[in-house]
């Protein structure tokens, strides 16, 4: 049975929508579950403060689930998008958009749960710092959403840029590669940013007087944790906007798809690793605020070393795109 191009494009869009929403809901649910679980620990320790804990949990979860709402928006657009000139390249772009948003929302959803959970716990230890804990939690959660926003930007580009003049071979592979590059790389950065934000809430509760250095270290640590997802975004842009000449050789297409996979998978570990370095530094800045400068330097050196594997992945991706 032969299908026309329009059917294939619809098939790609519907599958992409399913992947976007299915994977997009996973991260937020895990993050919200973590926050809820920590909230129940906090309430069990001091039932009198349950109102404040629930309030913090509600506000934190509202921000934390943004990543999955991004996924919902992309999924609905994929389901109901009107494609005026359906081509197989467009089908690949729509499927890539779904992959990008689905993977890209996982890390931000999980990561946003950490500051939410630690803020609920901290509120019981330091009720007087409730407002500051909520602010730190919200800022930390908002920064965690950055990789998901990158994924949404790439998904929207894949959906709305006109690829009708691009040759099928090897563009289909470049567009799928663009989707997985940002999507997968966003996982590590989202989780890593969450680890730093969680430690900051724990730190503020432990040492309220260290709130300034703790917040500064958190923000610097989170910024570096986002770098692998920026590398992923860069490779995606190259794959989407570079013009590839038509070729019958399958290895060219595989090289482009490989470039996206290389940067995507290569960005997961460094994102989480950078977050761990930031988590440790933030936690200890709260305990030894007089050594905040040394701890910041140690964190940045550790993150730079952890980052090197993402740089290797980016170099290999660029070789696959421009040399192979």
């Amino acid at each position: 049975m032969a299908y026309d191009i329009s059917t294939w494009v619809n098939l790609a869009a519907f599958t992409g929508a399913g992947i976007a929403m299915g994977l997009g809901a996973v991260g937020a649910a895990i993050g919200e579950g973590y926050t809820a679980s920590e909230a129940s620990v906090a309430v069990s320790r001091n039932t009198k403060l349950s109102g404040d804990v629930f309030k913090s949990m509600l506000v934190g979860q509202a921000v934390a689930e943004s990543a999955s709402i991004f996924a919902l928006v992309i999924a609905i657009l994929l389901l109901f998008l009107d494609v005026p000139n359906p081509t197989l390249v467009k089908g690949a772009a729509l499927f890539g958009a779904g992959l990008c948003m689905g993977f890209g929302a996982i890390g931000s959803g999980v990561g946003s749960g950490f500051p939410g959970g630690q803020a609920c716990r901290g509120m019981v230890h330091q009720p007087a710092m409730a407002s500051r804990l909520t602010t730190n939690m919200l800022i930390g959660s908002a920064v965690c959403q950055t990789p998901a926003i990158f994924a949404m930007v790439v998904a929207l580009i894949l959906m709305f840029v006109d690829f009708s003049s691009a040759p099928l071979q090897p563009t289909w592979a470049a567009l799928l590669g663009a989707g997985v590059s940002t999507g997968l790389a966003a996982i590590g950065s989202g989780i890593g940013g969450g680890l730093a934000a969680g430690a900051s809430c724990e730190g503020v509760a432990r040492s309220p007087e260290a709130v300034g250095p703790v917040t500064t270290t958190m923000l610097v640590g989170q910024a570096v944790s986002q770098t692998p997802s920026i590398f992923g975004l860069l490779i995606s842009f190259v794959l989407v906007f570079k013009t590839f000449p038509e070729t019958a050789a399958l290895q060219t297409a595989m090289a482009l798809l490989g470039a996206g996979l290389c940067m995507g998978f290569g960005g997961i570990g460094p994102g989480i690793g950078n977050g761990m370095a930031a988590e440790g530094a933030v936690r200890w800045v709260a305990r030894r605020v007089d050594h905040a400068g040394d701890l910041m330097r140690t964190m940045l050196v550790g993150q730079a070393v952890s980052q090197s594997t993402a740089i290797y992945a980016m170099v290999i991706s660029l070789v696959l795109i421009f040399v192979v």
């Binding site: 937020a28 649910a29 809820a36 679980s37 629930f54 509600l58 943004s66 909520t134």
Partner: protein, 128 residues
Amino acid sequence: MEAIRDTQKRYGSAAMALAIFAGLFFIIAGYKPIAKGLILGTLFSVLNFVLMGETLALRVSPSRARSSVLSMGTAMFRYLLLALPLIVAVRNDTFDLVSTVIGIFMIQLLVLGDHVAGALVSRRKRDD
């Protein structure tokens, strides 16, 4: 649960008021689809926030696995609800899609704006 209701009332009413005022501005300026999209999106954003608060007690469980499963279930239900304005905006040209999406994030934008503004004001007071 009184604290949750107060939070819902505070952000829910502020979000609706902001959407209606902005909507009026856009209607006067001649951008009726933007106004309708913004108000529709905000309405469902508030509904989602209310449902999120109402299911909080259900989701708080000592078991992390149970909390995650319950979170997933309630989230899927709320996302189905949030999909409605998006489908309306995609299918109907009288609603602007971009403003509908902005409306859906109205609660999140207000919560963040409120706390960031509060933190800036308290820092300025401390500096003075």
